[in-house]
Amino acid sequence: MLISNDSRLSFEKSREGRRGALLPTDRLAKAARLPEKLMRQHAPAFPEISEPEAMRHFVNLSRKNFSIDTHFYPLGSCTMKYNPKVNEWAARHRKFASLHPLQPVSTVQGMMQVMVELEQGLMTIAGMDRFTLQPAAGAHGELTGLMLVHAYHAARGDHHRRKVLVPDSSHGTNPATAALVGYEVVQMKSNDRGRLSVEELEKHLDDNVACLMLTNPNTLGLFEEDILEVAKRVHAKGGLLYYDGANLNALLGIARPGDMGFDIVHINLHKTFSTPHGGGGPGSGPVGVKKHLIPFLPHPLVEKKGDQYVFSQRSPQSIGRVKAFHGNAGTLLRAFVYMRSLGLEGIKKTGRDAVLNANYVRVKLRDAFKPAVDEPCMHEFVLTLKPEQASPFSAGSAHAGQSLHASDIGKRILDYGFHAPTVHFPLVVPDAIMIEPTESESLETLDSFIEAMKAIAEEIRTTPEKILQAPYDLPIRRPNEVLAARKPILTYRDYLREKADSPQPRAHSLV
């Protein structure tokens, strides 16, 4: 076999006396050891394996992953575009990777220039007046943004503004973040074209609204056509508009949130600006604002003074720090390299191709499945199941009465060699399947994906039970998440304690 089926942990490969790394043996101080009461009493039970074993262990683990470099990843809302390797070359460069955050400012002018020029690029792309580069992720950027909203209204004595409006199609992080900052979240209904209407806005808009949080295009991949009127009305009532930048890829070169009337914007560099997802982070979530919010931005900001790059003086109204040091500099550098590589024409082509590719897949699948809203989309679109697909089992069959769900389709597409699209989001569409191809994919790849989806649609019609048990061709199938939550085994120690009931690991074997 090519991919090892060894499922042992490094701990289970451990043998006393093996070393994975050596260290200098010289000692200089006469007595460095501390009083016994300050010393560790029980050694940590780390594994003991050699370097070649460690290398094989981790390389083989990596081979059990899907990734952008190996598979097409049409995950709606995630923008799984290609991660350019020159970005990695830059981030690993000794002149950047080994910079200490507290070095004298005169010794890091190059890095600070990168940060200032990145900020300028983000400002023009998003149409905003200043950015903080401190937030470490999208959700972190949202939290920062809502703290800015809070600080802005508090400074004006507007303490009665306790409501944040969100559309029912919004991402789960929006209400959670708003609630943390002490706001009451009010959900507004999407209309039958999947959008926020001015009528619906008016039902909830009053002087108690602190802000409206929107993403545009929305999570259905549809442009909020009434945005200018929406912005006008929210502002007239003294509220602010917050832009969730998750879908910014659709707008590159086409339109700007700043022009639409948004006061605060967060950008996901790990989505729009190609920095790698790394299996779940790190990311970076710079937050951009219009002039009236600049005084509240987190401190410090980086700026150019004369011909020197400096950290700004602390603004008395700043919300403070949201992270230690300056932000995810390594990620910021990657985004800067990407932005400079693309340049003006590349940025414009990105938004355009993202929209083109999404519409191509959309029209080719509109008959195989049911479109949530049957209209041209921006960079992503949502499908759902036709009634006969959701209930495909005939009365006499073994699975009579069972439903098929979007998650089952997601599992089956893995067998065809594609990562699943986003499933069961947004919640306003039952059994939602959200597809975002991005601009990085060729028509040939899209055609293969379309064929696979059509084949699955056919399988639903003729052999639906096959979908229920998918996937078939992967190292594991349908893990028991209920068991994992009922009897959590979260460390190797937990496993040793529960050993009798847990599945035994398998060393590389032919079975």
Binding site: L9, R19, G20, L23, P24, L28, L34, R40, P44, E48, E51, F58, S67, A90, K95, S98, H100, L102, Q103, T107, Q109, G110, M111, V114, G138, H140, A179, L180, V181, L222, F223, R256, D259, H277, G278, G279, G280, G281, P282, G320, R321, K323, A324, T331, M339, R340, L342, G343, L344, K411, L414, H419, I476, E481, L483, A485, L490, T491, R493, P503
Partner: protein, 445 residues
């Protein structure tokens, strides 16, 4: 465009398939006044040109690879084995998404499980999550957990906790309407126990201590956990994980929550990020742990499988004040730490901790013999310590920079009473020659 496969031919095919005559037909819903803004961006570049550009920027940086650096204060220069870089550069790890589809992500999930196991071992606690953005945000999450658990809203924080961390706490806690109170330290650069004990009352959810603290002191926490637990208060210890190879970890002090910065575990300094906030708790808090967490289970064929678990709390919004915020983790950084800790192994993690203590101890002893500088030889340290000079640190910093040395981090800015004081760090990356050269340069000032 080398990142964009779509050709002008392809565009024609797409528009035809979509049944429209031009691209603008696809975006006709966008108000005309918004369409096609003028962007102030330079033209694109080939890879070769971009590399040259980055090299030009790089020339304006002085890196710690060419300068002898004694900077610490929350970010540390350590030797990272080549295997770490090889593994985090693997496409399948680097360009993978969050493991929401477990069948497609067993690599990431098992690596996270091993990370959790290693952090639990290192901190001496029972459960670890998959990480937070950095030590500061991890600490903020710990305080929120303590408030959730105890139903109290006051947090007592030692003045010896990293100034940036205290600022982040202030920002987070005031957003959630919790109260932060600082208690001071002694002239011995350790937290003031008497002051702390007086400040504890039944409105306090938790006490935050950093050890080794910002001044490098390894704190004596004997009896503290018991004292606090008797009063229904939780003990949160924020600490450098590398120190725990040889020095007493939070679990052995009876801490409820251990948090801190995982950067020393195989992650480059990168001008301050991306880093790694670790978060470990005693067993009783397992179901309240924020963020992502991987668990071991079995699949439909009875094979071992890893999944994200205990996710319900992430989405749960209670009617009263919501006390959870969605947290992504720092998967790739956690992977670097996992590989580092695995390579170090049981013996190595203790040894690297001991070498750090050795280098710092030797350096401090040597500096104590130089006229014009004072150190406290009684202060128990890991790899950092305070030096007080007889002249402003800015002078010393400038002098030593001319000799290609980063002398240390100034303390007066954050601690105005500590005139002419600076923080010096010596890790295993410093040889005897490096240390002696530093001492010599100080003596020349």
């Amino acid at each position: 465009m080398h990142y964009h496969p779509v050709t002008s031919e392809d565009e024609k095919i797409i528009l035809k398939a979509a049944g429209v005559s031009s691209f603008d037909d696809l975006i006709k819903g966008i108000p005309a006044s918004l369409r096609y803004p003028k962007l102030d961006l330079p033209p694109g570049m080939s890879e070769m040109e971009v590399q040259n550009l980055i090299r030009e920027f790089g020339k304006k940086n002085l890196s710690t690879k060419t300068v002898s650096s004694f900077l610490g204060a929350g970010s540390y220069e350590h030797f990272v084995p080549s295997v770490v870089f090889e593994i985090i550069a693997r496409s399948e790890f680097l360009t993978a998404y969050t493991p929401y589809q477990p069948e497609a992500s067993q690599g990431t999930l098992q690596a996270v499980f091993e990370y959790q196991s290693l952090i639990a071992e290192l901190t001496g606690l029972d459960v670890s999550n998959a990480s937070h953005y950095d030590g500061a945000t991890s600490l903020a999450e710990a305080c929120l957990l303590a408030a959730r658990h105890t139903g109290r809203s006051g947090i007592l924080v030692a003045s010896t906790v990293h100034p940036d961390y205290r600022e982040v706490l202030q920002t987070y806690l005031s957003a959630a309407s919790f109260g932060l109170k600082i208690f001071g330290h002694t002239s011995g650069l350790a937290f003031n126990r008497a002051e702390l004990e007086k400040a504890v009352n039944d409105g306090i959810a938790a006490v935050v201590i950093q050890s080794p603290n910002y001044f490098g002191t390894v704190e004596d926490l004997t009896g503290l956990a018991d004292f606090l637990h008797e009063r229904g208060v939780l003990l949160i210890i924020s600490g450098n994980p590398l120190s725990m190879g040889a020095i007493k970890p939070p679990g052995e002090w009876g801490a409820d929550i251990a948090v801190g910065e995982g950067q020393p575990l195989g992650i480059p300094m990168s001008f301050g990020g991306p880093y790694l906030g670790y978060f470990a708790v005693a067993r009783e808090f397992m179901r309240k742990i924020p963020g992502r967490i991987a668990g071991l289970t079995e699949d439909s064929k009875g094979n071992r499988a890893f999944v994200l678990t205990l996710q319900a709390r992430e989405q749960h919004i209670r009617r009263e004040k919501a006390l959870s915020n969605i947290c992504t983790n720092q998967a790739l950084c956690a992977l670097a730490a996992t590989v580092y800790m695995t390579l170090m192994g049981k013996e190595g993690i203790r040894e690297v901790s001991e070498i750090n203590m050795d280098r710092a101890s030797y350096l401090r002893e040597k500096i104590s013999q130089v006229k014009g500088y004072k150190v406290d030889l009684n202060q128990p340290i890991f790899n950092e310590f305070v030096v007080v000079a007889d002249k402003p640190f800015a002078q010393i910093e400038a002098e030593l920079l001319k000799k290609n040395i980063f002398a240390g981090v100034a303390l007066e800015k954050d601690y105005p009473e500590m005139k002419n004081a600076f923080l010096v760090c010596a890790t295993e990356t410093k040889s005897k020659e490096d240390l002696d050269a530093f001492v010599y340069a100080l003596a020349q000032c």
